[in-house]
């Protein structure tokens, strides 16, 4: 069991049998009053968000989440298919459930898939992924904007800022937590 004082951003809790992740958290306590814990939460299955304020005496269950080693295969429309690398069973997760993670999925990528109640609901990506730069404009010297980066598009369609020397066909490493450029990769 968890209590209200355990609540914090990123914590996963179970409400009415559904798993939620806390996306925003604020502690408040009016003068001489009770501690209040205001949480914005996202339902990990439906993606629905809601905000609720809890008091210190409230208790929560941990959702029974299980991680399985899987491999990303392909997408068919909004369905993203994965295969269990131990028993070769296949399953899919919707684009909506994957959210921003879609930007970093590569065919045959190994990752952890999060299951709730035997249903896949989310993935845990590797921290770093290497992706091919598919569109890069040449950098204009003497750019008056004063910025020392330029935007490029990678093979998944994701757009990010990179140093001027990156060109089309380069492989670059991206931090999946921030979506930021890390380095150019030599193959």
């Amino acid at each position: 069991m968890l209590t209200a004082s355990d609540l914090r951003k990123g914590l996963k809790i179970q409400i009415d049998g559904q798993p939620y992740v806390i996306t925003h958290f604020e502690f408040s306590k009016p003068g001489k009053g009770q501690a209040l814990y205001r949480c914005k939460m996202r339902n990990m299955i439906t993606g629905n968000q809601f905000t609720q304020t809890y008091r210190s005496n409230e208790k929560f269950e941990k959702p029974s989440l299980e991680e399985r080693k899987m491999q990303y295969l392909y997408n068919q429309g909004d369905e993203y298919h994965f295969m269990d690398t131990e028993n070769f069973e296949q399953t899919f997760i919707t684009k909506e459930q994957l959210g921003g993670n879609v930007s970093f999925l590569q065919d045959n990528m190994d990752l952890d898939v999060l299951f709730f109640d035997e249903k896949p609901i989310d993935v845990t990506l590797p921290i770093f992924v290497n992706l091919l730069v598919s569109i890069a404009e040449p950098w204009v010297k003497g750019d008056t904007s004063g910025s020392d980066t330029k935007p490029v598009t990678v093979e998944t369609g994701f757009v990010l800022q990179v140093p001027p020397f990156v060109v089309e066909g380069d492989k670059i490493q991206i931090d999946t937590r921030t979506g930021g450029y890390v380095t150019r990769v030599k193959e």
Binding site: S5, E26, F27, S28, K29, P30, G31, K32, G33, Q34, A35, L36, R38, T53, R55
Partner: protein
């Protein structure tokens, strides 16, 4: 961790506060931070320190100094409240308390107005989010519940929703154009405050707000030791899950307070005031070391 500029500004802030109170004829005092027993408060968890507790407020000893003959005193000190951590909360924070003999809560409201205007005039980098032009707003707790929650305070208390409604529906409106005083609290929410004359259900207590953020809690002191003793006993009963419930009544405090006719005192969170003054919105950005800056 504060940079050089931040350290300079924080030092200027403390200096200006001391200058203000000295100019107004207040004496700076210091009292024990480790206290063998604490004033019962059902919603405050104390941090143990050996056989003592770290203070959650210096009020007990400030009031004993009044009883012993001081007339205007102030103190800037560290206070500790276990489990209070957030954008506007630190478990260890800096409190400013000041006390006046022969005064009531309206005198303290006037002090607040003068203090803030003094800081704005004194500190060049002062950047309060609202205007300090007088008059500051004064709204009773009863008015606030009627206006923002469409219910009476009594209803809110009955439904055990007072704190929730205060935080979610009322506080965001307080002090949005200039600072605001929320005053006259239900007696049951002001165990150390004097009942208001002609309104026995209310206590002479107020909270000061700026930009929706609570800065200070002040009240006219209850000095009737019989009444105080029964308030303490009621408060102990409410602390049913609290490990401090075995605390004794502070007898010396009750005895000495009895000798005071009237007095008023206020506690103001200096880190929050400094945060607003420096245009920040997070306490961690304005304290010398935030909890995340420490080795653990």
């Amino acid at each position: 961790m504060l940079d050089q500029k931040g350290l300079q500004l924080r030092a200027a802030f403390f200096r200006a506060i001391r200058n203000f109170f000295q100019d107004q004829g207040f004496l700076e005092v210091d009292t024990p931070i480790r206290q063998p027993l604490v004033i019962p408060e059902q919603n405050i968890l104390h941090v143990p320190s050996g056989s003592h507790f770290l203070q959650s407020s210096p009020e007990l000893y400030m009031k004993r100094l009044l009883a012993a003959g001081s007339e205007q005193i102030f103190q800037i000190c560290r206070c500790f409240r276990y489990g209070e951590r957030g954008r506007l909360h630190l478990e260890e924070f800096v409190m400013l308390e000041w006390y006046r003999l022969d005064a009531d809560y309206t005198d303290l409201m006037a002090d607040c107005e003068k203090l803030f205007c003094f800081l704005e005039a004194e500190i060049a980098e002062c950047n309060f989010p609202v205007s300090l032009n007088k008059p500051w707003r004064r709204i009773t707790v009863a008015q606030a519940f009627e206006q923002y929650c469409a219910m009476s305070v009594e209803q809110a208390l009955e439904q055990d929703r007072f704190d929730l409604l205060l935080v979610e529906k009322i506080e965001p409106h307080l002090g949005s154009n200039r600072p605001a005083f929320l005053y006259d609290y239900p007696l049951e929410l002001a165990s150390l405050a004097r009942p208001k004359e002609n309104q026995p259900g209310n206590a002479e207590r107020f909270e000061l707000y700026m930009a929706g953020i609570e800065l200070a809690n002040g009240f006219s002191e209850l000095t009737d030791s019989v009444l105080l003793r029964s308030r303490f006993e009621e408060e102990y009963l409410k602390m049913k899950d609290c490990p401090e419930k075995t605390h004794k009544i502070p007898e010396l405090f009750l005895q000495e307070l009895e000798t005071i006719d009237s007095a008023a005192g206020i506690a103001l969170g200096l880190d929050r005031l400094f945060m607003l003054l420096s245009g920040q919105n997070n306490l961690d950005a304005v304290v010398t070391f935030s909890p995340d800056d420490l080795d653990i």
